[in-house]
Amino acid sequence: MFESPDRLVLGLATGIVFGFLLQKGRVAKYQVILGQLLLKDWTVLKIMLTAIGVGAIGVYALVALEMANLHIKPMLWGGVLLGGIFFGIGIAIFGYCPGTGVAACGEGRKDAMVGVAGMLAGAGIFVWMYPMWLPIIRDYGDWGKITLSEVIGIPGWVWILLVIMIAVGINLAMPHSCPTIQDKPEKTGFP
């Protein structure tokens, strides 16, 4: 049931950096997430696309050097489509996604804390009703653990280049929120 202590410590350390970045990125805030969904504040997509572009270069390089393995999730059409619809409706009502919801708890946001309790309840419902979900996940088409390159015969590095171009385009073209005057860090005694 428990993994080795070094993996637990490694996971904790990775999580601390992730949570720190999410909070500094201002995506642990209801108004920033809803600002993205209402297509006004593009902070969320800017962070995601930059992360995808930078991440893809390094991870594919590590795989090429045989220092890492890909972990592709299966293209199960029923699960991905119904799951995406539930997830999309849920995030618009809750106002946070799972990672930013946990990070928002660290900011002291009580609505996020209750929502994370709801996430645990949802996980319980998922496990309890698994016999009902399984046919939906499994029986509407399974393309397996497949990448874009395998579906459309364009090499991986071209896809990565395309993603980077989209990331740069959105980053240049779209606005993102800046902290208001009151949010600006106060001058402190630190040099």
């Binding site: 970045l21 962070i47 849920g90 799972p98 996430m119």
Partner: protein, 178 residues
Amino acid sequence: MNVFLQKAWSPYVVGAGIGILSWFAFATADHPIGITTPFEHSAALVIQAGVPDIIQNHAYYQNPENTPVIGWEWMLVIGVLVGAAWSAYLSGDHTQEVVSELWKWRFGPSIPIRLTGAFLGGALMMIGARLAKGCTSGHGISGTLQLAVSSWIFVLVIFSVSALTAFFLFGKKGRSHV
């Protein structure tokens, strides 16, 4: 100016940081960053503790793919909480606010209504994530950067559906409240 005391970093810096953190996760743990699997596993362990006989006949526990574990990803979720709290502490960027301005404008200042919405929204979101086997992190960043078809389809669906839902709930006028 100490950058760790700032309330906000540029989204490009944060995005690049998360991208590099993904390299680190793949190289050191052989595991992509994700959030929701530990929620499923925790729920499965709690149910198992409450109803021990369930492993004998319940389809979830019969499937060898589902082996609940307290591991790297479970501690990652704890880390996200700690890291965000640390960052918010350093910059003083925490809040007592329960009902954000947009929600207040649309549904009123009632705290129970906001918390009910948060609870139900969080629950529905988690069921969706587990149906699709990933969330905004597991599919949205870790899966897409591996060029997984499932992850790109999932991201397109969640952004379309969540934007439609947000416009349905708050309308165009809501845009002046975020």
